[in-house]
Symmetry: C2
Subunit: 409 residues, 2 copies
C-alpha cells in the first residue's frame, strides 16, 4: 500500500498495443492496493510529426503557439491510456498539465515548474481512480499553455511525486536501469541496485542518458526516491537515493563516457590579468558550452597556454572564434582536435580514498592509452583520450575496478 | 471597421499550405481595420485518425476520454494558424475552448454551450490581435474537456458571435454559398444573396448541408447575421438574416431534396385511441427518427392506414419493428419502399400566397412524376416521389418557379 508516481516515455506508448501493455502494468500495481499516478509522454514520433507541420507553416514559430501545438501530443496519450485502463475495469481519469494546475513560469518551450495543486489528484485517488497526467506541460499564471522542453516528462513525474509526497517515483524506460557502464562497450557491465543522486547526475551529464539531468537534480532536492526500470522487461531496476551506509562501501559506481567531445588549444598567449575571460567570453557569447578548462603558464612566465573542450558539434564554430581572438591578443598558435573522448570514473566512495586517480592512470598507461587531459571533482575523475582508445580504456577501467562483481573492492 | 467572427472548416485547413491561405484571408480582413475572431476545426482527416487510435484501444471508449482525445484536433489547428498569422506580421493568439471559457454542460461528445466569458477576447482585440479559437469544444463546470459533437465548430462560431455581439459571423466552406438548389442537379441554380433563418433551417434539414442545423437555429435565436461563403473562391456568399421587406418579394427561395429517404406503410390497423403512439413508440425507442407521417381512416371507419418516412439507413430495422407491432395489433399488412426521395419547395413568401402547392403538383404531373406523399408547413411544401424522378422533379420545379432569375415571380 503505497502512493506511486510512474512515468512512461514515448517508446513505451508508441502504439495502441504498447499503451495496452502499459495499462496492464498500471492496473497490476493498482490491484495490489497502491495509489497510482501515471505521467506519460507523447507517442514516439508524434512530437516530430507536429514539429514538421509547424515547419511547413513557418521557420520562425511563435514560442507560445509552438507550446499549444506540442501539448496536444501528451493529451492524445493520456486519453488513450485512460480509455485502456477503464477498458480493463480500472477506473481512471486523465488531466492535461493545465487541468491539474502544473503552474510554470512563462518561458515558453523551456518553462520551469513553480507549483502543483494536488486537490484534484487526491480526490481521484481517494475515489479509487488511477490519475493519468500529461507530462512535459503546464500553464502559466495567465492560463497560457507552456511546455518544459523536450524530455520534460521526467521532471513532471518527479515534481508530482514531490508535491504528493509519493513513496516512490518510477521512471519506465527502454533500459533495465543504470549500469556500471554502457553494456554495448562492456558486455559484463552490471545493473546497479542503487546509486546516489550525485553519482547519477555525473553519469547522466556524461552521456549515460537514462534520465533527464533536471529531473534527477529536482528529485535530489526534494528527496524523492527515484527508480529507473524497464517498461518491457520485468525487474527491480535501479533505485536512486541519498547516500546511505551500505553505499559507502562502493568506491566506484560506474564508468561514464562521452563521444561528443572536441578540444581546442591556444598557445603563447601574453599572460595578463583577465586573459581567461577575454579568451572564453566570445565563446560563451556564441552559446557554446565549455566543459573542461586547463591553463598552464609557460616556463618563461610571460605567456600562458589554454586548452578547453566543447561539444563536437560546436567545434568548427569555436575554432573560428578562437582564431580571431588569438590574432587580437597576439597569441602564437591555435590548434584543435575533434577526435577525442572523455572517460570518467564516478563514485561517492572516492571522497575518502586517495589512490583512485593514480590506479586509473596506471591502468591506462599499462594498456598504452595516452591521457591528453585530466580533470577531477569530489566524486569523479575524468580523462580525455584519443577516440580510438575509448573501448579499450573503458574495458580496462571496468576490469581494474572489478565493477562486474557486486560490492566490488 | 467591424467585429467579425469567421469559421473555417476541416477542408479549409486540411494542410499547412491551406492554413497559410486562410491566414492570408484573415490578415486581409484585419488589415482593413476589422476586429477578427477566427474559429477553426480540426484538419480534415485528423478526427478520423484520432478515432481510429481510440478504436485500436477499445470498442467502448470512455466518453470523457474521447473528448480529451478529439479536442487535440482543433488545438493543433489553432496553433498552426496563429503561427501563420504571426509569420505574416499579424499578431495573433490561440485559445482552446477551455481557455476561452466556453462553458458547456457535462454531456460528453454532444455537449451544449451554456456561456462564454469574453474577457480574454476583448483584451486581445483591443491590443490589435486576431483571436483564434478552437471550435467544437469547451469545458464543463469542473474543468473537464467536452466536445459539441461532430461539426460543432459552426455552433462555436455563432455562440462567440452572439457573446461578442459581432457584426457578422462568416462561415467559410467549400461552396460559394446557398444556392436555389444543388448545382450538380440543376446547372442554372443561382447563388442566393440572402435567405432567412427559417428558410435556411428547412434547406439545411433537407440535405443542403452547408451549415449545421443547430448553429443556424442558434444564430436565429440570438439574431446573429450569418454569412456562408467559400474559403477557396472570392465572393460575397449568402447572408442569412431575419425576414425583411426586400425578402417578402421572393416567393420561393430554393428547392431542397433528400435522397436518404425510405417509407413504411401499415394497412388495416384497428382504429382505436392511442394507435399512433403504439405504432411509432417502438420505432422511437429504437432511436429511429421519423420524418413525415400520414394517416388515413379507411372508408368503413373501423381501420386506419399509416405511412411514415425514416432515414434509409434505418429502413430494415424499422421494417422489422413494424412487422412485430403489426402482428401484435392485428393489422392487415406492412409494406415499404426505400427507393424514394423527398423534394421540397422552401420560401417565406409562401405564407401569403395560396397557389404555390397546386402549381407545384401541376408542374410535376405534367412531367409524369407521380407524387407518393405530400406534407406542408408554413414555409415549405414537400413531396415524396420515386427515386428515379429526383432530377426531373427538381429541374421542373426550378424552371416552373423561375429560380434561375434574380427576384423571380
Amino acid at each position: 500500500m503505497a502512493l506511486i508516481v510512474q512515468k512512461y516515455g514515448g517508446t513505451s506508448v508508441a502504439s495502441p498495443e504498447r499503451i495496452g501493455h502499459v495499462a496492464d502494468k498500471v492496473a497490476g500495481w493498482r490491484s495490489k492496493g497502491n495509489d497510482v499516478v501515471v505521467v506519460v509522454s507523447a507517442m514516439s514520433g508524434e512530437t516530430d510529426r507536429l514539429l514538421s507541420l509547424a515547419g511547413a507553416i513557418t521557420d520562425s514559430q511563435s514560442p507560445r503557439e509552438l507550446d499549444v501545438l506540442l501539448a496536444t501530443g501528451e493529451q492524445v496519450t493520456i486519453a488513450l491510456l485512460s480509455m485502456a485502463l477503464e477498458d480493463r475495469g480500472c477506473p481512471a481519469r486523465s488531466y492535461t498539465g493545465a487541468q491539474v494546475h502544473i503552474r510554470t513560469d512563462s518561458a515558453h518551450n523551456k518553462a520551469r515548474i513553480r507549483g502543483i495543486e494536488d486537490k484534484h489528484i487526491h480526490t481521484d485517488l481517494a475515489a479509487g481512480r488511477v490519475v493519468v497526467v500529461a507530462g512535459f506541460q503546464g500553464a502559466d499564471d495567465h492560463g497560457n499553455i507552456t511546455t518544459l522542453g523536450r524530455g520534460g516528462s521526467d521532471t513532471t513525474a518527479v515534481a508530482l511525486a514531490a508535491a504528493l509526497k509519493a513513496d516512490e517515483c518510477q521512471i519506465y524506460t527502454d533500459v533495465a536501469g543504470v549500469y556500471t557502464t554502457d553494456p554495448r562497450v562492456v558486455p559484463e557491465a552490471r545493473l546497479l541496485d542503487r546509486i546516489t543522486f550525485e553519482e547519477m547526475l555525473e553519469m547522466a551529464s556524461l552521456g549515460s542518458r537514462v534520465l533527464q539531468i533536471r529531473s534527477v537534480s529536482f528529485a535530489g532536492r526534494y528527496n524523492v526516491p527515484l527508480r529507473v526500470l524497464s517498461s518491457f522487461e520485468e525487474g527491480e531496476g535501479t533505485l536512486i537515493t541519498y547516500e546511505d551506509e551500505t553505499m559507502e562501501q562502493a568506491l566506484i559506481s560506474g564508468i561514464a563516457f562521452n563521444r561528443d567531445e572536441a578540444k581546442l588549444t591556444i598557445v603563447g598567449v601574453p599572460d595578463t590579468p583577465g586573459v581567461a575571460h577575454r579568451l572564453l567570453g566570445p565563446i560563451a557569447k556564441a552559446n557554446i558550452e565549455v566543459d573542461m578548462i586547463l591553463q598552464n603558464v609557460a616556463p618563461d612566465g610571460t605567456t600562458t597556454d589554454f586548452t578547453f573542450t566543447v561539444n563536437r558539434n560546436d567545434y568548427k564554430k569555436a575554432l573560428t572564434i578562437l582564431e580571431k581572438t588569438a590574432k587580437a591578443m597576439g597569441a602564437r598558435e591555435v590548434s584543435g582536435d575533434d577526435k577525442i573522448v572523455k572517460i570518467s570514473l564516478v563514485g561517492v566512495g572516492m571522497r575518502s580514498h586517495a589512490g583512485i586517480a593514480s590506479t586509473m592512470f596506471e591502468a591506462l598507461a599499462n594498456e598504452g592509452v595516452n591521457i591528453r587531459m585530466i580533470s577531477t571533482s569530489e566524486i569523479k575523475v575524468s580523462v580525455v583520450v584519443d577516440e580510438k582508445y575509448l573501448e579499450l580504456g573503458v574495458r580496462t577501467l571496468h576490469d581494474t575496478f572489478k565493477l562486474a562483481q557486486p560490492d566490488s573492492i
